[in-house]
Amino acid sequence: MSVMLLILLLLGAGVVAWVSERVNTTLPNWIALITFIAATLWVLVIWFNGPDTSGLYADLNREWIPRFGIYLHLRVDALSLMLIGLTTFLGIVAVVSSWTETKTRHGFFQFNILWVMAGVVGVFSAFDLFLFFFFWEVMLIPMYFLIAIWGHEDKEYASMKFFLFTQISGLLMLVAIVALVWINYDISGVLTFDYDVLKKANLDIATARLLMLGFFIAFMTKLPSVPVHTWLPDAHTQAPTAGSVILAGILLKTGAYGIIRFVVPMFNEASREFWIWGMSLGVVSILYGGYLAYSQTDFKRLVAYSSIAHMGFILVGVYSFSKLGTQGAIITMIAHGFSTAALFMMAGALQERLHTREMSKMGGLWVRAPRMGAVTMFFVVASVGMPGLGNFIGEFLVLIGAFQKSVVLTVFAAIGIVVAAVYGLSLMQRSFQGVPNPDVPKVHDFAFREMSVMVLLMIALIWVGIYPQSLLQMTAPLLSGLIELPS
């Protein structure tokens, strides 16, 4: 029940925020901020109360459309809870990062942010495939609005591309879902969209392969992995800061979540055959994403391409079919959410101050804004994979897991960490170090508002980095259900 209430809280707050625009233009911001803080506290309470005997934090199963055996089935296990926590927490970051950025229609802006988050919470907790697809699509429309209304110069192209990529791959997934349900109905005579039932569907391997691909393509597009990654740099570059934070921090994770939750457990045999493709795509994404990141001159675009590289590690980890690899992928999801959200917030802050994202027009900013410099340094180093910070744990576990499966691919994936250091440090040098650019006007350094969220993000990354056990032991009981053949 508690998840449904959380979703309804976000949806309701969205409407209230929209309406409150008439009273005062900053009121929507406050409503959204308070909602996200409340939601985060709520998640923390559920977290500390601990799971019930079956390892679940919440479970709700109500009839929705009995004609097709569709249920409103929301369930929160450890994996879902972590990602929901990440979602509500990054909600705070998103609201704070765009506090002064939006100049028009504040209410509708916060409405869209709250509704995207509601959709994402639904995605992370739906255990009915129809419901999952429903939320999967629901989160797109507000995101489209965020990019299309408040985006930068090329927003029409970017928002359209984003929407088309995700929609078309989503259609493939819909066909796969309906086909799976229908085949299961044909075999067992039970018409249901329930995750647990369909997981045990008795498919022949040829069908399973095709259906698996339908799901995989949808999730791969959202992740994104090479070769369907091209929407991401455009969408990120054009999106307003809050949009980028949500997109990189959370929306990409829905793709990773889908692979971990649906593709691998539901089509286990077919996925096991597929491992070499999954891992290779991951490695290619790591290297190609890193290479492209290095060649960017646009601050935001560079961070966007680096996301592709980091998401490659998730593919490598999941398709290693080892417990360590999968745990590494999950930790990477969380840590990347924190570090990239911070970097995109920085990109947004720079654009607001300098009116450009071009790094050639920056240079030597550290002198003028030392707090911004230090913060950027911290998150760049985190994203590069410095031990002691979250990203390192994730990528390290992925590499250990993958090593047992394929040494060659692991070696190439490990090279990706070196590439990350190259583009990460070059980002730092080109924007914050070097000779100050004389054309740059005075830069306001981060004030309390921005510093407070940045400090929160830092604490989160350090926590994941030095005490990953707290997360690992939560997900450990789930792993056998996620990566092993159903008995």
Binding site: R67, F134, L164, Q167, I168, L171, V175, W182
Partner: protein, 485 residues
């Protein structure tokens, strides 16, 4: 069959015809717009409500009236859908007539007549009743399309529709004659050639080729779609809304009857031809819609694609007729709501202007200039694209389910490709509506409140059924089962 039962089952038709006569005599005595409008709306509501009384006459199964009509629950569902659509057209039409037209009252006569024709079709099980219903709808529509007497485009559109629809009807009649030559019967149920001779088979096939060509004209399926954009464009938007929904839905209702009663889809040739038509309609309709800059033309091409989608529901009838009926009814409910909403927005926005809204650019920033109409247009476009939270998503889901149930993978492929292309131009409408309005864009004020109210109702229905379609789905399923499928 007892006479009393027949009259009870036919009550909606009697009420509608009676109301039609009252409106006609009323107009003949004294021309008063308000009276005509109120009488029309009252007639439509009374006819809708009379289905409740009539439904008990059906018992289980259907009431057969002569060999011409078979009235069952499914026919009633279609009827109610058409009547509600006609009601929306009457409400929006009254505002349109008030502001734009000098001679207003005949419009209502034509509307009631066309509605009566469309009510005949879902119950028709005989070629004679088919052509009767089709021509009542068609002839009323010729006049409705050309209704604004002074403007040139509506006249042109009316004439075009007259000629081409006439050609379509001719093909249809000729096809019926050939089928009759093969089988010796005009009833759907006996339309298969009786003696199994080679000659009979040829007549049957040629007859069906002509028959379905005529139907494809009426449904504007590729390659018989040429008239559609011109007529949709030229006609007053509210009439276009009626043409795009009720007249199409009624034809679908009757071909479903023909396909099921006559087992037409047992013929592999007919099935193949329909599959090909469905595929090319989905793909070409959507592709041509991409190129449009005129909103009404865009919607015309998109309706071609939607008719192509609906053929999937028709084709599944061969293996699972209950699912076919469920799919077509649910899809039509969704399609009616979103199409009426889209044309309704165009109509309401154009009411204060000499010329109807033309280009997509003219709705730039609509959400900020006229929030109600803008929001409804966006909801309608999102629904047409088949995205969740709207009824359009469930409609599309039903098609996928039906297609997979029938194992029609090629059609599913075409549906995916078509929908993917479709998203692009529907989103263009959404993007145009939400973008920052030009500085010289005039604020849209003084729009009629009834019109906006109707639009809000349509928009809310799209959303409500998109979130909780359970009751609607159950209703349709129960009625389809009660009708003996």
């Amino acid at each position: 069959m007892k006479l009393a039962t027949m009259f009870q089952a036919g009550l909606p038709y009697l009420v509608l015809t009676g109301g039609l006569l009252v409106v006609m005599i009323g107009v003949a005595i004294k021309r008063t717009h308000a009276v005509a409008a109120v009488l029309t709306i009252a007639t439509l509501i009374a006819t809708t409500l009379s289905h409740i009384v009539a439904y008990s006459a059906l018992g289980d199964g259907a009431v057969q009236i002569d060999s011409m009509f078979k009235i069952d629950g499914i026919a009633y569902l279609f009827n109610i859908l058409f009547l509600l659509a006609a009601l929306v057209v009457a409400f929006l039409g009254s505002e349109f007539l008030n502001r734009r037209i000098r001679f207003k009252e005949e419009f209502y006569l034509l509307l009631l007549c066309a509605t009566l024709g469309s009510l005949v079709l879902p119950a028709a099980v005989h070629f004679a009743s088919l052509i009767l219903g089709l021509e009542i709808v068609g002839i009323s529509l010729y006049a409705m399309i050309a209704y604004p007497e002074k403007a040139r485009p509506p006249l042109e559109a009316g004439l075009k529709y007259l000629v081409l629809s006439g050609v379509g009807s001719t093909a249809l009649l000729f096809g019926m004659a050939m089928i009759y030559a093969g089988s010796g019967s005009m009833e759907f149920a006996n339309s298969l050639p009786s003696d199994g001779s080679m000659e009979g088979q040829y007549f049957y096939l040629i007859g069906n080729a002509f028959f379905w060509s005529g139907i494809a004209f009426k449904l504007s399926l590729v390659p018989f779609h040429i008239w559609t954009p011109d007529v949709y464009h030229g006609a007053p938007s509210i009439v276009t809304g009626f043409l795009a929904t009720v007249s199409k839905g009624a034809v679908f209702a009757v071909v479903f009857r023909y396909a099921i009663e006559g087992n037409v889809l047992d013929s592999g040739n007919v099935q193949f031809a329909l599959s090909v038509i469905a595929c090319i309609s989905m793909v070409i309709g959507n592709l041509l819609a991409l190129l449009q800059t005129n909103l009404k033309r865009l919607l015309a091409y998109s309706s071609i694609a939607h008719m192509g989608y609906l053929l999937i529901a028709l084709l599944v009838v061969e293996s699972n007729s209950a699912l076919g009926y469920e799919t077509v009814i649910l899809y039509l409910v969704g399609y009616f709501l979103m199409t009426l909403a889209a044309f309704g927005v165009v109509s309401v926005l154009s009411m204060n202007q000499e010329q109807e809204l033309e280009t997509i650019d003219s709705i730039g920033g609509l959400l900020w200039r006229q929030p109600i109409a803008g929001a409804v247009l966006i909801v309608s476009a999102i629904s047409l694209a088949g995205i969740p939270l709207t009824i359009g998503f469930f409609a599309k889901y039903y098609l996928f389910y039906a297609g997979i149930d029938g194992g029609m993978w090629t059609l599913i492929g075409a549906l995916v490709v078509g929908s993917a292309i479709g998203i692009y131009y529907y989103l263009r409408i959404v993007f145009t509506a939400i973008k920052r309005p030009l500085d010289d864009a005039e604020a849209m004020t003084g729009l009629p409140w009834t019109g906006l109210g109707i639009l809000v109702v349509l928009g809310l229905c799209i959303l409500a059924l998109g979130i909780y379609p359970t009751n609607l789905i159950d209703l349709i399923q129960n009625v389809v089962q009660a009708s003996g499928f």
